[in-house]
């Protein structure tokens, strides 16, 4: 009896597996492998199109600010496409959300490569995230261009397709260190940095330039638990008598450090690495945190003003210099070709970042010529990057051996008395240059003054003008 009664169950399980089979097959789209490569020749390139992709944080903890970059790149691509593309090829940019989770980056990148058949990965964001796809992109021979990270880890002969975009963190540290040494000679310096490669590499650069005796206190924070005001760290810096506080912090951390210092009556000179010093990005955070802490909006406006006086460094023309023709053109591009983004953010550190990066990629495509392959593109970047004429205070440095774009920057001070500029998020002090433009290396090489000037604005870009 028992034997009989259990038979239906077995059948049912078989049916369940059958149902699962059918459904799973439907989900995964059984029906033969997808065809690889579009037209004959290079993957992702046809006679009238170029498909490129990227993984960026559109949501999650890293999204505020950083989620603007990829959409801003489309301002340039839309403009180029409206003018007929590059050699008749229109650029399709597919950016997917990875929530800054490397496992998701790995998955989304496989989607880009295997189902969207991208020609190149352009402008993917983050150090751990890009490290997760570096080896894979190399094995597929996909160019891994203009990584939005300043990690000192992108330049290796093992991965010829990998090119970083931002100045390596050590170089910006060395340049800020040089400035501190020259201008705050006998003052006590305190350090506050993120307890990851980013923070440690910036401080490595600072400490290469600064005498060890000048540093009175070193404080860190853990980014995964970054939530509350950093009162402990700021109190320690105050107790150590720091007159200058140099920080390698992400935007939220900059705000969470400056606010408790005010409460403690601690007003040092802040020197903040460019990653966490963009006024239109940090300012609103200062206001939000103040409102949250005081349960009133009274002090929010005052909090926004705390960015005034901060010293930082810039490698792109600062977005506050309204007279700069590049800045005018960037604003015009955003306003005309990505109006929603423009209405929300205007030209801030993130949208400018995206526009310049995309413009550089377009210049690279032009330099690669009509016969576009992955090899011609990499060759063009490695041999002609200096002549791309992309906006930047120093020329692009790419070569077969060096996979970093900008190897220098200029120290600037956010100075309200020198003028202000307005974005949808508020009114901000302009960045006033307080040092020459410096160039240096990632190692112990000297910091030297760069004598060249910004590349001139080409006529088709100069024609773009817009009200700010």
């Amino acid at each position: 009896m028992k034997i009989r009664s259990s038979r239906p169950v077995r059948y049912r399980s078989v049916a369940a597996v059958g149902a699962a089979t059918a459904v799973l097959a439907a989900f995964t789209g059984v029906g033969g492998p997808a065809s690889s490569a579009g037209a004959a020749g290079t993957t992702g390139v046809t006679s009238d199109s170029i498909t490129i992709g990227a993984t960026v944080p559109l949501t999650g903890p890293a999204a505020p600010g950083y989620s603007e970059i990829a959409p801003a790149m489309n301002a340039v691509f839309n403009w180029v496409n409206a003018r007929g593309g590059v050699y008749g090829r229109k650029i399709h940019y597919i950016y997917l959300d990875d929530k800054y989770n490397p496992a998701t980056t790995a998955k989304q990148t496989r989607k880009l490569v295997l189902t969207d058949h991208i020609f190149a990965d352009v402008g993917s964001l983050g150090t751990p995230t890009d490290l997760a796809i570096q080896k894979y992109l190399h094995s597929e021979k996909v160019p891994h261009l203009f990584i939005e990270s300043g990690c000192n880890c992108w330049s290796t002969p093992k991965y010829p397709e990998t090119l970083g975009w931002q100045p390596p963190y050590t170089t910006t540290g060395k340049i800020l260190g040089t400035y501190i040494k020259a201008n705050f000679k006998d003052q006590k310096v305190g350090e506050l940095y993120q307890d990851t490669e980013f923070g440690m590499d910036v401080m490595k650069g600072i400490n290469l330039e600064l005498p060890a005796s000048q540093v009175v206190s070193k404080q860190t924070y853990v980014v995964t638990t970054l939530s509350g005001a950093m009162t402990t760290q700021m109190a320690a810096l105050k107790a150590a008598g720091a007159q200058v506080v140099v920080m390698a912090t992400i935007p939220a951390a900059t705000a969470l450090a400056i606010l408790p210092a005010v409460k403690l009556g601690f007003h040092p000179q802040y020197v903040v690495d460019n990653v966490g010093a963009d006024a239109p990005t940090v300012g609103p955070l200062l206001a939000t945190f103040t409102t949250a802490a005081t349960k009133t909006k009274l002090l929010a406006a005052a909090a926004k003003g705390l960015m005034n006086g901060v010293v930082t460094n810039a490698y792109l023309p600062p977005e506050s210099t309204a007279t700069n023709p590049w800045i005018k053109a960037e604003s015009a591009l955003l306003q005309k070709y990505t109006p929603t983004l423009w209405a929300k953010h205007g030209l801030d550190g993130n949208t400018e970042y995206g526009v310049v990066l995309a413009y550089t990629f377009v210049q690279a495509l032009k330099a690669a010529g009509k016969d576009l392959t992955r090899t011609t593109l990499m060759n063009a970047i490695n041999t002609k990057a200096k002549s791309f004429g992309a906006p930047g205070l120093v020329p692009l440095n790419y070569s077969k051996d060096v996979h970093y774009g900008f190897m220098g920057s200029q120290v600037v001070k956010l100075t309200a008395s020198a003028g202000t500029y307005t974005t949808p998020s508020g009114t901000w002090p302009v960045a006033k240059a307080v040092s020459p433009v410096y160039v240096t290396t990632t190692g112990s090489g000297k910091v030297t003054v760069y004598k060249g000037t910004e590349p001139p604005v080409p006529s088709e870009v100069a024609k773009l003008t817009a009200a700010r």
């Binding site: 009989r4 009664s5 259990s6 038979r7 239906p8 169950v9 077995r10 059948y11 049912r12 399980s13 078989v14 049916a15 369940a16 597996v17 059958g18 149902a19 699962a20 089979t21 059918a22 459904v23 799973l24 989900f27 995964t28 789209g29 059984v30 029906g31 033969g32 492998p33 997808a34 559109l58 949501t59 999650g60 989620s67 959300d97 800054y100 989770n101 490397p102 496992a103 790995a106 998955k107 496989r110 295997l114 189902t115 150090t127 751990p128 995230t129 490290l131 997760a132 796809i133 080896k135 094995s139 990690c151 880890c153 307890d195 990851t196 490669e197 980013f198 853990v222 980014v223 995964t224």
Partner: protein, 377 residues
């Protein structure tokens, strides 16, 4: 979700009562061996054949996703056993995934050996961590245990940051992607490795469930005092269940590390641990078939919600949270409609069909068998 589940069998069985009855009769004649091991081995072979056919006929990207389904199935299998069979809750499976993933990466960096051996060691390391956490936790009632495991999921990532020289800090450690033999694509080969691991885990657990240990798990779940009086060592049984689930999570983490090629704590946010618990409940706690529904949901829900939000032309931020919202909504609907998860719902539908096919007379037998079947699957 629920609608897409039921149609296939209906379509197969719908034609007309007499044909249906004939089909049922012939199905009744199709006897499977009673021995759990032999029967489970048959399922193992059938499942393997099914996955082989699917993986060779889809694209490389789909292979990658099927591999992901398999690795999440490994994690969910352990969790399902822990909750469904032993009545314990864990909000910290992500932490054990971290342990497995780092164990694999450290092995591959410092003492590379055969991949199978590396995976076994990674599993054992995570299981050992499960014993360590489980020992004090066995004295806690479920809500407190959930708290302890939650702390683990929150705290463990800090350790990797703190000891950067060993664990590689934010950048983490790299793993070696297994080289595919012959002309097989890397994605397909990886998927096969992951599927094989999942099948082995499910096979082992399916046998375990039918063994003395499985009965002890259930006895402890149902009534600790009664179990204790019957001579079952309650604490030891709970720790064993916890260690097995931790081992499964560790293996899943190691398999994820193979997929990604890099191990760092960013891959295992707290939300992953919570999503795993939700997916397990969605599939049906305690069901080794149900875990596959959960795993499919984990892997495909983000993709579906992205295409849905494109149809609705939502903004990017709204689109991103749509996935979580849909997941939550589906979970609520499933719990209301089928409290035993998707698999419970499927079973209910199939039972109805069976009654329609063979008549009321056999209902009691079918139900009787069904209850025992629930324990098995």
């Amino acid at each position: 979700m629920t609608t897409s589940v039921s149609p296939p069998p209906v379509g197969d069985l719908a034609p007309e009562p007499s044909a249906l009855r004939r089909l049922a009769r012939s199905a009744e004649r199709l006897r499977l061996p009673r021995q759990p091991l032999v029967r489970n081995l048959i399922f193992f072979v059938l499942g393997g054949a099914f996955f082989y056919v699917v993986t060779v006929s889809v694209s490389a990207y789909n292979d990658f996703q099927i591999g992901e389904i398999a690795l999440y199935a490994v994690v969910l299998a352990g969790l399902s056993l822990l909750t469904g069979l032993n009545g314990q809750f864990s909000l910290g499976q992500g932490a054990f995934m971290i342990i497995g993933a780092y164990a694999l990466a450290l092995l591959q960096t410092h003492a590379p050996m055969n991949l199978a051996l590396e995976l076994v060691i990674a599993t054992l390391v995570a299981a050992a961590a499960g014993v360590v956490v489980g020992l004090p936790a066995a004295r806690l009632s479920p809500p407190y245990l959930a708290g302890v495991t939650l702390l683990l999921a929150l705290g463990l990532p800090q350790l990797a940051d703190q000891y950067g020289s060993v664990f590689g800090g934010e950048q983490g450690l790299t793993t070696t992607t297994p080289t595919a033999p012959g002309s097989i694509s890397a994605e397909q080969w990886l998927a096969w490795i992951q599927i094989f691991c999942a099948m082995v885990v499910v096979l082992l657990l399916a046998n375990l469930v039918r063994s003395r240990f499985g009965r002890n798990f259930r006895a402890v779940r149902d009534d600790e005092v009664a179990a204790s009086v019957s001579g079952i060592h309650v604490a030891r049984t709970k720790v064993l269940a916890f260690a097995i689930s931790a081992g499964c999570a560790g293996l899943g983490g190691a398999l994820l590390a193979l997929s990604t090629g890099v191990v760092n704590v960013g891959e295992f946010p707290l939300s992953l641990s919570i999503a795993l618990l939700a997916a397990m409940v969605l599939g049906g706690a305690g069901s080794l078939i149900g875990i596959w529904w959960g795993a499919v949901a984990l892997v495909y829900m983000p993709t579906w919600s992205t295409s849905l939000s494109k149809h609705l032309s939502l903004g990017t931020s709204a689109a991103a949270y749509l996935s979580d919202a849909i997941f939550g909504a589906v979970l609520i609907v499933v719990i209301l409609v089928a409290p035993t998860g998707v698999q419970g719902g499927v079973r209910w539908v199939l039972r109805r069909l069976w009654v329609a096919a063979v008549g009321q007379q056999n209902l009691r037998q079918a139900t009787d068998g069904g209850e025992r079947g629930e324990e098995r699957t």
